[in-house]
Every structure is written in C-alpha cells, then in structure tokens.
C-alpha cells in the first residue's frame, strides 16, 4: 500500500527535477519577499522545512519570511506538508497552479483529496465523508472538475457499481483495473486461455525428450522450466502485449495445475530423500518450483487425451432423465430413444 501511495509524489518530483532550478519561472505580481521565498523553496522540489527557508534567506527577518510563506500559500503557490513534526513547504507547480487557480474553494478541496488518493482513486461516498460537504456540492464540483479534464471517473473491478475518481493524467493502479488479466474491467478469458496454452506448450516441449514417444527423462532430469523461465519465454516471444510479473505467471501455472495439465515439482537436488522433501520445503522458502507436463499425449490445452470414461460413453452417463428412468416405467431402457440413436450410429 505505502509503496503505491508514494507514487504520485514521485511523479511530481521527477517533473520538477526536469524544470531544474536555474530557470524557475516566478509568477508575476509578487512582493520582493514573496519572490525570494518562492525561489528558495523552488530549489527543493521535494519540499523544504520552514525553518530551513528562514535560514536560507538570511537577508530578510524571519517574521517577514513567515508572512511571505503564508501569503504565498494563500495564493496557492506554496503548499504545506507535515513531515513528522516539522512543517515543510513546497512550491506548487505552475501547471498545477494554473489548473486550480480558477476554482472555488470547495472544488479545490475536492481536487486535493482526489489528488491525495493517487492512482488508487477515491469513491464519491468517501469524498463526501472526508470533505464534509453536501453530496450535491460534491457532485457539482466533480462535474466542474471533470469538464476541465482535471479528474476522471474510473471503474473499480472490485466494486463495479461504485464511482471512483482520480486525477485525469494518472493510470489506474492494478488494484483498480484488476491487473493484467482484466481488459476494460472485465476478466479477459480469451487472453488467459491463449497465454495458458502458450505456457503449456512451452512446458510440454521441455518435459519430454524429442523423438521416440516411449523415451522419458530420468528422475534426476534438471531442466524442467521454472516460473521465471516461463515468464522469460512469454516475454521473448512477445505473446503478451501486457507486462506480466512472475506472480501473474505463477497464477497462470496454478491454473494449469488445477486443470491437471502440469505438475509442480521440487527441482532435483541429488540427495533427495523422503525426509528431505519436507525439510526442504520448510527451511528454504526460496526454492523455485519447476513445472512438468503430466500427459505426453496431450499436446495442447485444447486437445483431450483421447480416452473417454465408460460412464460418459454410454447414453445413460449424460442422460437428462437418468433419475427418472426405471426398469418398467414410462421412461425405461427398453424404449429409450438415446439408446436407439446410440446403437444405430
């Protein structure tokens, strides 16, 4: 969570860095003191503590500096931030300033809350709760902000019916979109199937020796692929347009395991023992699992392994009236249509 929260700050920092301190544009119509304070603060894109500002500008009395800071803040050119117990100030970027300067105070408030929520977005109900504004007011402000393309509404995969807002320029986090597997907030099953079958093909190709179908690898064969290798393969072959993490790949591989297509194995460790098995799991969490295709005759995820079980073979196995069928009732094997069809194929 905390990692994601800091992301927007980082963005700003970076863009500030680009604006480098030499060509700071000072807004027009400021007093000398204000200018001084503004320039000093602008040298620290990440913000600077109020005390430091006072020290830096030795030429002006501390009280005047404080006044300057306050008046800048009123003009929305500086913003305050608490870091621990010390107040920090940071210049508001020019473009941000331009965005918000024309807004009324309520919209500004809402804007700042949305900004704080970062790429997680914030729910309208929460907005209302945090700002203590009336719902109508909130809606009106949101409308204004939306029109100005300052914020946008996004759908959250977890709560498809709730309206979430975030800054217009942000990309929703994977929490919101649901990660690689979602396209437009919908689980992209086709995409999953394609990838899973690609993974399977790859694992299959490395699970059995080429050539004679009856020849297999020995028990100590050490080259079954791990999740990281599968990921590399997917990446190299450009099968996915989306960047996939190893966790995503493991998710896919688990899916294949649940489909009984592949099995998860401990990599061969030479001295493995019955007792060794469990030990290794316990004390070396870093062991990477490897994966192996289970059935040699199943060459792809869509192919079946040929055989059909005896019960599904006879009509009764799939019969919709199986439960009603009795030896001498109205539905019975003697007059059964399914059997007629089956026997006259």
């Amino acid at each position: 969570m905390s990692a994601i929260k800091t992301e927007p700050d980082m963005d700003i920092r970076m863009s500030n860095g680009l604006a480098s301190s030499s060509n700071i544009v000072v807004p027009a119509g400021l007093s000398e003191t204000e200018k001084q304070v503004y320039i000093t603060a602008a040298e620290y894109p990440a913000g600077v503590s109020v005390g430091d500002v006072t020290i830096k500008i030795g030429s002006i009395p501390a009280k005047d500096v404080m006044d300057g800071i306050n008046s800048l803040s009123k003009k929305s050119l500086l913003e305050f931030q608490m870091m621990g117990d010390t107040p920090y100030v940071r210049v508001v970027q020019m473009k941000d300033y331009a965005k918000t300067s024309g807004l009324d105070s309520e919209s500004k408030l809402i804007y700042s809350h949305i900004k704080e929520a970062g790429n997680e977005g914030i729910w309208t109900k929460d907005l209302k709760k945090h700002t203590n504004l009336h719902l109508n007011v909130v809606n009106r402000c949101l409308k204004v902000l939306e029109q100005k393309q300052l914020v946008k509404a996004v759908k959250h995969v977890k709560w498809p019916t709730r309206r979430f807002y975030m800054l217009y320029e942000l990309t929703p986090s994977s929490e919101v979109t649901g990660g690689a597997w979602y396209t437009d907030q919908e689980l992209d099953t086709d995409f999953i199937d394609t990838l899973a079958s690609a993974c399977y093909k790859y694992i299959y190709s490395r699970s059995f020796p080429r050539g004679d179908r009856n020849v297999i690898f020995k028990a100590d064969y050490g080259h079954y692929p791990s999740a990281a290798e599968v990921k590399r393969f997917i990446h190299e072959k450009r099968i996915s347009s989306v960047e996939l993490s190893t966790t995503d790949i493991i998710c896919l591989l688990d899916l294949l395991i649940h489909d009984d297509m592949i099995e998860k194995k401990m990599p061969f460790a030479g001295f493995m023992d019955d007792e060794g098995d469990s030990d290794m799991e316990n004390d070396s969490g870093g062991v990477e699992w490897v994966y192996k295709a289970i059935n040699r005759n199943v060459t792809s995820t869509t192919a079946s392994d040929g055989g059909i079980d005896a019960l599904s073979e006879v009509p009764c196995g799939k019969c919709p009236v199986f439960k009603f069928c009795t030896a001498d009732g109205p539905i019975s094997p003697s007059n059964c249509e399914y059997f007629n069809k089956w026997l006259n194929f």
């Binding site: 597997w181 919908e186 020849v215 899916l255 489909d259 005896a310 006879v314 030896a327 003697s334 026997l343």
Partner: protein, 538 residues
C-alpha cells in the same frame, strides 16, 4: 426399486432365467425369508421354489441360516447381493484365466461358473466326454486345475460358504461374548468385533490348503516356464472329490495389479509398467491380497535380477544427458532409475518400506487406488460438465472449503460464470455449501458461504450411478435379444446351424446388426464394471 437390487435381479434373470429371478426378487426386496414365506410371496409351488434356492446356493449367491424359534428349527434364506454383482465379472475371469494359464484353464473356469462348483473328478469326466484325445488332455487339465488351486484362483467349497458372512460374524461374536461371564462392556464389544473380523479373514486365508495335498516331489522342473510368472510356487495336487469354486477375490487382486501396471504405463512409460509388473511378481506371495494397503517389500536388486534383456538396450530412458559415464547402464541402474520415477510420479506408485532398510520398497496400493479414483472422477466431470467446471471442482477438492470469491480468483473465471458453475455442481450433488453465520441471528447477509466437495460421497453416488447404468445396458441387451427372439430360435435349429444358407439375406443382415449392437452394449457394460472395480473392489 433401488438400484443395486435391480441390477442383481437383472443379472439373475440373465444367468438363471425367470423362475429363479422371481425367487431372487422376493429375497432381494423382502430380505431374509423362510421357505414358506417365499412360497407365499412368489405364489409358486414349493418344489419350484426349492429348486430355485438350490440353484442359487449351488452358485453361492444364496445363503441359509438355521435358527431356533420356540421348539421348531426354522431355516431362513437370504441372498448375497455382492456375490451376484461379482458375476458381472465372469467374462473377464474366463478371458484372463486363459491369458494367464492357457486355454484349458479358461475352460475350467467356464465349467466352474456354469456349474457353480466342480470337483476334479467331474472335470475328468467332462474331458473324457468332450475332448478328442482325453488321455493326454486329462493330464493337462489336472495340472491346470492344481495350478489354479495353488494360486488360489479357485478354492475348495466349505460349509460356511453357504452361510452369509454376517451370520458367521454374529455367531463368532456370540461365542466370544459367551466366554465372558458378565455382559461385555462397550469397549469389550468393540474388541470382540475386531477380533472376529480378523478371525474370519484368517479363515478365508487359510482356506488355500484345504482340498490339496502336497505333491510328490519328483517332477519339479515340469512346468517351470508356465509358473515362472508367479514366484514362490508350491507344487500341490488337488484331491479328487473336493468341490472347488471360483475365488473372485484372487481374480480381483490380479485385475487390480493389471490396472496398476496399466496406470504406470500410462502415466510414465512402458518401461515403468514393465518394472512395476516385475515388482509385483517378485513381491507377490499368497498373503497380501486385496484390501491390503501395500505389497510385500522388495528391493531394486531383486527386480533387476529378473529384468528382461531387451530392457538393457531399450530402457526407455533418455541417455543423452549421460555423456559423463558412457558405458551402458546396468540392470540395477535402470531399475533404480525407474523406482525413483515411480516414486516421484504424481500417483506415487511405490514408497519406501517402513522398517525394512533403505533399499526396500512397497507398492502403495492405497495411494494408487485413490489416484485412480480421482483421475476417473475428474475425467467424468470434464466430459460431463466441461473444462472450467471441472477446474472449479478440482480447486474445491484440493483446497477444501472456499468462498465464491476465492474460487473465482483461482479459477480465473468471470464472477458470473463461477456462480453458475458452482450452482451446476451443486444441483448434481457434487459440491455443497457450508454456512458460517457471523451473527447470532444467522442473517444471510452476514453469513459466509463456503463451497466444498465431499469426495467420498461423490464416489458413493457415482457407484450407484454405475450400477444403474449397467442395469440399463443389461436390460437393453435383453430387450434387443427378445425382439429378435424368433430369428434367434431359427438360428438354433439344427438344420440352420449346420447350413447358414438357409437364412434369407434379410435375416443374415438382421443377425449381423443384432450382433453388432449386443457387442457394443456388452463392451460398454464391461467397461462400466471396470469402473465399479476401481471404486468398490480395488
């Protein structure tokens, strides 16, 4: 009528005809009855009923129990459903007896199943009457007979065979209880039960030597080749006038072994199957029958000593890796390698023997059985409900109880589909819901719903479905045959059976069609029974 009795009835009708079937039906539906009771319910003459009972007792599917009621001694009859169901396996038994011991053995089992029980003397008589050169044949038959007996594929008929197992158990229990002076406590009762079970088991086991006498040991090397497949042969002779019957248990055991070997061939490769076969033959002895969880322990060296030579050159193992040691692998190498593969395979075919030292392994029948049941069940789900539903079921089986959200996440399916599929599984009784209310009022909104699959229950129900399907197929066979009754009778006529040309073209075509249909049905019934074996007998 519930499923199992219906199938029993179907089998009895097929094997013994309508009269016996009526008696059987009364016994199946009403339970234990006296002779007069049966007569009353069937409305048949006493004589007929009695004959039907004799037939069934002869074939070991009917039991009697004598009880004292007041001054009178009454005799109750009951029917053994399990024994009847085993008769489905007759075709398989005859076939495999032939595969394992040769044509004559297959004939012996056939005769035995026709007559219920058979002595060696009867067999000799039959040979004299039916074979072209009886003198030589008798020797062969006698040999096969004793072979079957010493391998316990057939056993001597004992008086208690005609008693129901439950009666034997109760009797033995009553005897044990009588030995205790005061009434037994609950704990003692439980102990007695266990002891009695064991005792009956032992009785069954010790049966093997009855009816046999040790062979005069002069021609030991006589049929070494034939019996090599089965180690630890004790050459025995069969006494002439002891009745023998088929020992289904022993056959089932070998069927199981074959199935296990097939499974290994399937999951790993042919070589693994071969090694497993050798393993089973090495470790096979008279004990360790069906119902045992493990085989006798054996080591890689033992198996390696009987490894056929072609395995050395064509081991089925990838050798490109081994550039380090170029020399050909020895038999022991290959076997050790396969042992490791068998052990590591998802089916866990073998495991280390518990207290036998490092190099000894046992075949883990319990595990394999569970594995086979699972595999078959999965396959069934897949073909019945499709891939993703099967996936959901598998997830539930593996992870236990799960919430819908979790299922959805793991199965990577849209929420709507997941719900639909869970509901589908639920209506088919494959998964169930467990409610966990969070508050005392048990409001649904504050309740967690957990889905789960109870495998044992599924297997039970599957077995019943199997019975029902087999009954359906069998009934259909009967109907198919009945509609062509006239034609079949014609076929039976002497002149027709001698000269097929008497049949018209239409008749011939009809016969062909009928044969095709019946064959298809029979094959299916056989395969269904194979499934029953996995779920019930292995």
């Amino acid at each position: 009528m519930s499923t199992q009795p219906r199938l029993c009835r179907e089998i009895v009708l097929e094997h013994f005809g309508p009269i016996v079937e009526q008696v059987a039906q009364v016994l199946l539906t009403k339970g234990r009855l006296t002779l007069s009771g049966i007569v009353q319910f069937t409305q048949m003459p006493v004589r007929t009923v009695r004959e039907a009972l004799v037939v069934m007792i002869q074939h070991n599917i009917c039991f009697y129990a004598e009880a004292r009621e007041g001054l009178r001694q009454v005799c109750f009859y009951s029917i053994g459903q399990d024994e009847i169901l085993l008769r489905l396996r007759i075709g398989r038994i005859i076939y495999w007896a032939g595969e394992w011991f040769g044509k004559e053995a297959s004939t012996i089992t056939h005769l035995m199943l026709l007559n219920g029980r058979l002595t060696l003397k009867d067999l000799k008589q039959w040979v004299t009457d039916n074979e072209s050169s009886p003198q030589q044949k008798i020797v062969v038959y006698e040999q096969k007979f004793s072979q079957l007996a010493s391998k316990r594929f057939i056993t001597a008929v004992m008086p208690e065979d005609s008693k129901a197992r439950i009666d034997r158990q109760l009797e033995a229990e009553a005897r044990a209880v009588n030995e205790i002076l005061l009434g037994p406590s609950t704990r003692e009762k439980a102990e007695i039960e266990v002891k009695v079970q064991q005792q009956l088991e032992d009785e069954d086991q010790s049966r093997q030597m009855i009816g046999m006498k040790r062979k005069v040991t002069e021609n030991m090397d006589d049929d070494v080749s034939a019996s090599k497949r089965f180690a630890f042969t004790v050459e025995m002779d069969v006494e002439d006038d002891v009745f023998f019957r088929i020992n289904y248990k022993q056959f089932t055991k070998y069927f199981r072994n074959e199935a296990v070997i097939d499974q290994a061939t399937d999951v790993i490769n042919r070589g693994a199957g071969q090694v497993l076969r050798l393993f089973l033959e090495q470790s096979d002895s008279f004990t360790g029958g069906i119902g045992k969880e493990e085989s006798q322990p054996t080591s890689a060296l033992h198996v390696a000593s009987v490894l056929p030579h072609d395995m050395l050159t064509d081991s089925g193992l990838d050798s490109r890796e081994d550039s380090v040691h170029n020399d050909r692998p020895t038999a022991a190498d290959i076997v050790t390698e396969y042992f490791e593969l068998l052990r590591q395979s998802p089916a866990r075919f073998i495991k280390r023997a518990d207290n036998k030292g490092h190099n000894f392994f046992v075949v883990d029948f319990k595990n394999i059985r569970l594995y086979m049941m699972r595999k078959l069940f999965d396959k069934l789900l897949k073909s019945r409900f499709g891939n993703s539903t099967c996936r959901i079921a598998r997830i539930l089986i593996e992870k236990g109880k799960l919430e819908e959200k979790q299922v959805q996440k793991m199965a990577m399916l849209p929420a709507k589909d997941t719900r639909e599929k869970l509901a589908l599984l639920c209506t088919h009784g494959i998964c169930d819901i467990q409610e966990v209310p969070k508050s005392a009022d048990r409001a649904p909104s504050r309740t967690i719903f957990l889905w789960f699959v109870s495998l044992d229950k599924c297997y039970q129900e599957l077995l019943i479905d199997l019975y029902r399907s087999i009954a359906n197929v069998r009934q259909r066979i009967r109907v198919e045959l009945a509609t062509r009754q006239r034609l079949l009778e014609k076929m039976e006529r002497k002149d027709v059976s001698e000269n097929q040309d008497l049949l018209s073209a239409g008749d011939k075509k009809a016969i062909e069609e009928l044969n095709k249909k019946v064959e298809r049905l029979e094959v299916s019934a056989g395969r269904l029974d194979e499934m029953v074996m996995v779920y019930r007998d292995f």
